[in-house]
C-alpha cells in the first residue's frame, strides 16, 4: 500500500499536494469547529465519523457498486441525520447532549456494521474498515484535470468545501456569533437561531464526509476540536479566534507531514501515517496553548499568582517590622521571628527579604533587620491604609470592630495614595483607628 511510501526527500509533486490537502481539510474543519466548541458540541465530529457507516452501506446496497458519488450522498444524509436526531432526542427527551449523541451514533454505527456484514455476502472485499476512508498519502495519485492543470481530486474537493465554509463563516458571521452565544436573542432579533444551527450541522456533515473520503477520519475529527480549543485559550474575541484556529490548523497540517516523514526515522523506522501525525501536532499546539497562552495559560497563571503572593509577603514583612518598631523592641526583627509570625516558608521569606534589601527598604543591624527611612515610608503607607480601612469599615460600613482586621489586611495591598486620600476624607481624617492605634501620616511622618 502506498501508505508505506518512502518519502526520502521533499518533492513538491508528492509532499506539496499532501500538505495542501491537509491544510485545506484542517482549515475547513477548524472554521466550523470554532462554533462547535462554543456550542459545546465538540464530540459531533467524532459522532458523525462513526455514524456515517449505515449511509455508506445503504448507498452500496442500493447501487451495488463502490462508486463515490452515491456513497458521498448517503454518508452526508446520515451525518446530517445524526446531528438532527441528537438534537431532537436532547430537546424532546430531555437527555444530556453527550448522552443523546452517544445513543445516536453508536446505534447508527451498529446498524451500519450489520448492513455491511450483510452486504459483504455479495462483495468479499468489503470490510468495515475501508469502505470510504481515504488516506492522505494517496492524494497525489488520484488526479483530475481542471482547465489545463492536473489537480488531485482530494485537493479539489476539499478546496471547494473550504471555500464554502469560509463563505458561510464570513457571510453569516454576525448571525453565527449571536446564535452561538445567545440563541434567544438571535430569534428575538429576527433570524431563526435554529436555521443557523441546522445550516451549521449540514456543513459539518459535508465537511466531515468529504474529508473521510479524501484524507481519512482522524484528521477531521481532530481539526474540529483541537485548533479552535487552542485558539480560544489565546483570545477572548470570536473573529481573532476563528483566524487563529485556521492558522493553528494549517500549522499542524504542515508540521504533521514533516513529523510523519522524519520522526519515525529517528528510531530507525520509515514514515508513519501523515493524518494521525497532524492530529498529534495539533495536540502539541493545544498543549502549548494550555501551558503558555498569555492570559489563560497555566504557567502564566501560576507565575502571576506567585508574583502576587511575593508582593504581598514583602508588604507584610515591612508592615510587621513597622509595627514592632512602633511597639518598642518587644520582638527582635530577626529572620526566625519573622518566619514564625508570618507563617512563611524559609525560601519565599528569604527571597522576599533579599529583594527588600536590594531595594534598600531594610538593612541588617546586628542580628535583627530594621527598616531604612525609605522602608519606613512604604510601611507607614501600608499601615495607614490598613488602619484607615478599619476606621472606614467601622464608621461607614457598620462592621463590628472585632471583625475588621482580616478585611483591612486584604485591602491594604491594593490601596493607592488617591484611595487613601478619599478614605481619609470620608472618615474625617482620624488620628487613631478603632483599636486605638495611631494612624501614621502619609509618607511616614511621625
Amino acid at each position: 500500500m502506498a501508505r508505506y511510501l518512502v518519502v526520502a526527500q521533499w518533492s513538491w509533486e508528492l509532499d506539496g499536494w499532501i500538505v495542501a490537502a491537509g491544510i485545506l481539510c484542517a482549515v475547513a474543519s477548524s472554521l466550523l469547529g470554532n462554533f462547535l466548541v462554543l456550542r459545546r458540541m465538540s464530540m459531533l465530529g467524532d459522532a458523525i465519523s462513526h455514524a456515517v457507516l449505515p449511509g455508506l452501506a445503504a448507498a452500496f446496497l442500493v447501487t451495488a457498486s463502490r462508486a463515490t458519488a452515491p456513497m458521498f450522498v448517503g454518508a452526508v444524509v446520515v451525518g446530517v441525520l445524526t446531528a438532527f436526531f441528537s438534537e431532537w432526542i436532547r430537546r424532546v427527551g430531555r437527555v444530556d447532549e453527550g448522552a443523546s449523541m452517544g445513543v445516536v451514533f453508536t446505534s447508527l454505527f451498529a446498524l451500519g456494521l450489520v448492513m455491511i456484514v450483510r452486504a459483504a455476502d455479495h462483495v468479499p472485499d468489503l470490510d468495515p474498515g475501508c469502505v470510504l476512508y481515504g488516506a492522505i498519502e494517496l492524494t497525489p495519485f488520484d488526479l483530475v484535470t481542471v482547465g489545463e492543470f492536473e489537480v488531485p481530486r482530494a485537493v479539489l474537493t476539499l478546496g471547494v468545501v473550504a471555500v464554502i465554509n469560509l463563505a458561510f463563516v464570513v457571510l453569516c458571521f454576525k448571525e453565527l456569533k449571536i446564535s452561538s452565544f445567545d440563541p434567544a436573542l438571535s430569534t428575538a432579533s429576527g433570524f431563526d437561531s435554529r436555521l443557523m444551527h441546522y445550516s451549521l450541522m449540514v456543513l459539518v456533515a459535508v465537511t466531515a464526509v468529504a474529508s473521510f473520503e479524501s484524507v481519512g477520519n482522524i484528521l477531521v475529527v481532530a481539526m474540529f476540536v483541537v485548533p479552535p480549543a487552542a485558539a480560544w485559550l489565546f483570545t477572548e474575541r470570536l473573529a481573532p479566534m476563528v483566524a487563529l484556529s485556521s492558522l493553528f490548523a494549517a500549522m499542524s497540517a504542515v508540521g504533521g507531514h514533516l513529523a510523519a516523514i522524519n520522526v519515525p526515522g529517528w528510531f530507525g523506522f520509515q514514515s508513519t501515517t501523515t493524518a494521525s501525525m497532524m492530529a498529534v501536532i495539533a495536540g502539541g499546539l493545544l498543549l502549548i496553548a494550555i501551558l503558555f497562552a498569555p492570559r489563560q495559560g497555566i504557567v502564566g497563571k501560576f507565575f502571576r499568582q506567585r508574583w502576587l503572593a511575593f508582593g504581598i509577603l514583602a508588604d507584610d514583612v515591612i508592615a510587621l517590622l513597622y509595627r514592632w518598631r512602633e511597639k518598642g523592641a518587644t520582638q527582635v526583627g530577626n529572620f526566625a521571628n519573622l518566619k514564625r509570625t508570618l507563617f512563611s516558608g524559609w525560601f519565599s521569606l528569604g527571597a522576599t527579604m533579599a529583594w527588600l534589601w536590594l531595594r534598600g527598604k531594610i538593612r541588617s543591624e546586628g542580628d535583627a533587620w530594621r527598616l531604612t527611612p525609605q522602608g519606613v515610608a512604604s510601611a507607614a503607607n501600608l499601615v495607614r491604609s490598613h488602619r484607615l480601612w478599619e476606621q472606614y469599615l467601622v464608621t461607614r460600613a457598620g462592621y463590628e470592630s472585632d471583625r475588621i482586621h482580616d478585611k483591612a489586611e486584604r485591602f491594604e495591598h491594593f490601596t493607592d495614595p488617591s484611595l487613601r486620600e478619599r478614605l481619609d476624607q470620608v472618615t474625617d481624617a482620624p488620628s487613631i483607628d478603632p483599636h486605638g492605634a495611631p494612624i501614621p501620616e502619609e509618607g511616614g511622618g511621625q
Binding site: 432526542i89 424532546v92 437527555v95 445513543v103 456484514v117 481532530a222 476540536v225 514514515s271 494521525s276 497555566i298
Partner: protein, 512 residues
Amino acid sequence: MEKWFRPIVRLALPVAVAMAVCGSMSHDATAAAIGRVESGAPVVADSTSRGFDWEKWLRVLLLRDYNTRVVIAGATLLGGAAGIVGSFTLLRKRALMGDALSHATLPGIAIAFIVANALGHARSLPVLLIGATLSGLLGVAAILLIRNLTRLKEDTALGAVLSVFFGAGLALMGVVQQMKGGHAAGLESFIYGKTASMGISDAVLIASAGFACILVCVLMYREFKLLCFDTEFAGSEGYPVWILDLLLMGLVVTVCMVGLQAVGLILVIALLVIPAAAARFWTENLRAMIVISALLGGASGATGAAASALFARLPSGAVIVLACAACFVISLFFGTSRGLVARWWRARRLNRSVAEQHLLRAMYEILETRLGWPALADQDNAEELAETVSVAALRDKRSWSATALKREIRRAERAGWIRETGDHVQFLQRGLEESASLTRLHRLWELYLITHADVAPAHVDREADAIEHLLAPEVVSELEALLERQFPQFPASPHALAGSTAARTDFRGVES
C-alpha cells in the same frame, strides 16, 4: 413493597415487548438480507431446510451448548455492569467519557505491543491490556486536568483528548506495522470485537470485572450519588471529590477494557450510554434507575449474544447495541416517568382541566355580573340554576375560538357540570358548586397578590389565571387562613370583570 420496586414491575412488560420486537427484527433483517424469504411472510420449514430451524432455536435458547452458555452469560454480565456504571457517568454528564477513553487506549496498545515485541513476547494479551489501561487512565487524567485547569469545557476536553490520543495511536500503529510480526491482525479484534469466539477465560474475566464493578458501586453508592447530584455539597461535606471522580472513571476503564474484547472498542460506548439513558425515562429514583439500567443492559447483552448464535453472519456486538437502541426507543416513547407518551398525556390532562375550569369560571362570572354579588353565592342550594348564559356571551369572555368553546361545552356537559339548550348553557347543581369554588380560589389568589405581593388590582386577573389551576389544597387552606380575617367567605372580584361595565371596587377590607 420498596418504593423503587414498582417501576421495575411496570417495566417488565415493555422490556418483554422490546425483546420480542428485537428478536423478530433481527430475524426479519436477516431473512430479507439473505434473500431466503421472497414474500414477507415468515416461512416455517422443516429443520433440514435452511428456513426456520426449531432445533437450533431451542438449543440456543435453552442454553444447551456449553459455548453458548459462556457467551450469553458473559455478554449479559457485561451489559449489566456497564448499565450500572453508565448510570453514574450519565448523571455526572460524562456519558461520552467511555468514548474518549476507549479511543485513548490505542497508543497504550501500540506501545505495549512494541515493548512486548522487544521483550520477545509478541502479542501477549495481559501486556496489551495493561498498556491499554494505563493509556486510558492517562487520557482520563488529561481530560480532568484540562477541565479543571483551563476554561475549556468538558466536551472540548473529551474531543481533544480523544482525537489526539487516537491520532497518536494510529501514528504508532503505522510504526508497529513495519515491525517484524507486527501485522496488526490480532490488534484489529480490539476494535471490532469477537463475542462469538469468547472463551471461558474471557467470560470469567468479564464476570469477575463485572462483579467487582457492581461491588464497588454498591459500596460507594452514597458517595457516587452525592458526586452525581451535588458535587459542591460532596466537597463541602469532606468527600474527596477528585478521588471519587477518578474511582468512577476507573470503573469506566474497567468496563471498557473487558468490553473491548467482547463487543469492540466503539460499541462498548453504547453499553455505557444507552441502557442508562433509557432507564432515565422510567424513573426519577436513582436506585431504580440503576436497577433498570442494569436489567436493560443485561437483557440487550443476552439478546445480542443469542441472536449472534442463531444467525451465522450477524456480528454480536452490533446486535447487542441494536437491542439497546430498541430499548431506548421504546423507553423514549413509553417510559412511565419521562417518556414522550406519558408526558404528552399529562400535558393533555392538565390542558383539559385548565380549559374546563376556564369555562366554568367564565359562566359563573357572567352570571354574577348579571345577578350581582353576592346574590349568586347564595344560590348554591338550588337544584339547578334557572338563569342561562348565551354561548355568544361566553365567547366574548375569553379569547377562545368557537370550535374550542363548543368542544369545552360538550365536555363539560358530559362531565355533568352544565346543560346545553340551543345556544344557551345552564349550570347544573354540581357545576354551580364547582364553579363557585373555582371562582373563590381565583379571587383568594387575586386578593393575596393585592394585599401581600403589592400587585396592582388591574394586573392580578392574569397572574391568578396562570396559577389558579396549580394551587395545591394545602396552599388553599393557608390562603384561607391568611385572608379570612379581612374578607368575607366568598369575596367579590377585586377588579372589573371582563364583559361587565360596572367596576367593582368595594373591597374596602383591603385598606383596613
